[in-house]
């Protein structure tokens, strides 16, 4: 009973939208570059997801707090300034405390700056809403991004290397599909995940899926 009530509050709706209805990867189809690039290993994916969630939450909070001061004509510049500051913080943090992960992620940490999800949420949500809702929205969309990435990474790492978190799981006679470890393989997995996701969504909300196009 309680769960159903939560789903109808504003915060509950924000969460459901971010995680399920308007999932950034499967519905908005944003941030695909990073999805393809860093989902070959689960540890990379977790580091990347944590980075994106951190940048998203801090950016949304700051944008929401400053929303009445941000000059309309300079808003994209302001968002980029804030986003890049936090991304550099994440980059330095990874370099200092997780040098191994930082090395394998390479340029993709810096490329969080160009991740459209963050700019998109800042522009379309955080700059128009209270800090609490901006925070919840950023968290929900960030988690929505993270769990799709984790699903893709699980499939790719298991089938490409036979491991999970670099721990061998599949028996050695099982064929390793090297192609899934490379960027082209990510397209296949992403497409299949998108297909399953959209099918499930269309089944649950049959009317909405038609006008979503």
């Amino acid at each position: 009973m309680k769960w159903k009530k939560i789903a109808y509050t504003r915060s509950g709706r924000i969460f459901i939208n971010g995680l399920w209805k308007d999932n950034p990867v499967t519905c908005m189809v944003l941030g695909i570059c990073s999805v393809l690039a860093i989902t070959n290993r689960l540890d990379n994916t977790l580091a990347m997801s944590a980075g994106v969630i951190f940048v998203m939450v801090t950016t949304s909070l700051l944008v929401s707090w400053l929303r009445s001061f941000i000059p309309v004509r300079l808003r994209i510049l302001t968002f980029m300034l804030i986003i890049s500051t936090f991304v550099i913080c994440v980059d330095l943090f990874l370099k200092a405390f997780f040098p191994e992960i930082s090395r394998t992620l390479g340029p993709y940490v810096g490329l969080i700056i160009t991740n459209c999800i963050i700019l998109g949420r800042a522009e379309s949500f955080a700059s128009k809403n209270k800090a609490l809702y901006a925070f919840l929205d950023a968290l929900a969309v960030g988690l929505g991004y993270a769990y799709i990435l984790i699903i893709i990474a699980l499939i790719r790492e298991l089938l490409a290397y036979g491991t999970i978190f670099n721990y061998p799981l599949l028996p050695s006679f099982f064929p390793k599909m090297d192609v899934l470890g490379m960027a082209p393989g990510a397209f296949f997995v992403l497409a299949i995940v998108l297909w399953i996701y959209r099918t499930l969504q269309a089944r649950k909300h049959p009317k909405k899926s038609s006008d979503q196009g």
Binding site: P71, R73, L74, T78, T85, K95, P99, P107
Partner: protein, 191 residues
């Protein structure tokens, strides 16, 4: 124009200062750790380049000043290693080059830092490509070209001509600098 825009400009100026300050403090806190990791990676690369065990201690090699750089000489087989740096296509390339005791044959090249195009020029950082350099000669000059045949020629990376050219130039430059500044005494001492 200034009359209408000064609040925007002030806002951007304040926000920019805040971001700069934040980054300054984060940088201040993380820099020692990052530096330590880099030093550690360099030490490991030197040991690796000299074919010494990676967890070995620095007393496995001597340090000799050569011009403005430091050269590392393995105590067991007199091989030499030194660091090189120069500009690649997009950013600096840094690494360790080790030579056999004859001072012209490459033993190993390790790239510690590069910012070349991922997937194209970025492959100069991969071991699969760097092993091609093993046993190649700096005499008369190292060449990274298409269809490499001679002992001083290495196959260029396809799709990354500019990176290959830059890498060739900076390796030759580093080698010649090293040879010119190598004290003759040391050369005679080495058989």
């Amino acid at each position: 124009m200034w009359k209408n825009n000064w609040p925007s400009l002030l806002f951007i100026f304040l926000l920019g200062s805040f971001c700069a300050l934040l980054l300054f403090f984060v940088q201040l806190k993380t820099q020692p750790l990052i530096q330590a990791h880099e030093d550690n990676a360099k030490k490991k690369a030197i040991l690796n380049a000299l074919n010494l065990p990676e967890n070995g201690t620095p007393d496995l090699y001597d340090e000799l000043p050569v011009g403005t750089i430091t050269c590392f000489r393995s105590k067991s087989d007199q091989a030499l290693a030194f660091s090189f740096s120069g500009s690649g296509l997009w950013g600096p390339i840094r690494g360790i080059l080790s030579l056999e005791p004859d001072l012209k044959t490459i033993r190993k090249i390790i790239v510690l830092k590069q910012e070349e195009t991922p997937g194209l020029g970025g492959r100069i950082g991969e071991n699969a490509y760097l092993t091609l350099f093993q046993g190649k000669l700096f005499e008369p000059e190292l060449k990274i070209i298409k269809k490499a045949r001679a002992a001083n020629e290495i196959e260029a990376l396809s799709g990354a001509t500019l990176t290959s050219n830059a890498f060739e130039t900076l390796l030759n430059k580093a080698y010649h600098f090293f040879r010119q500044n190598l004290p003759l005494k040391n050369q005679e001492k080495m058989p």
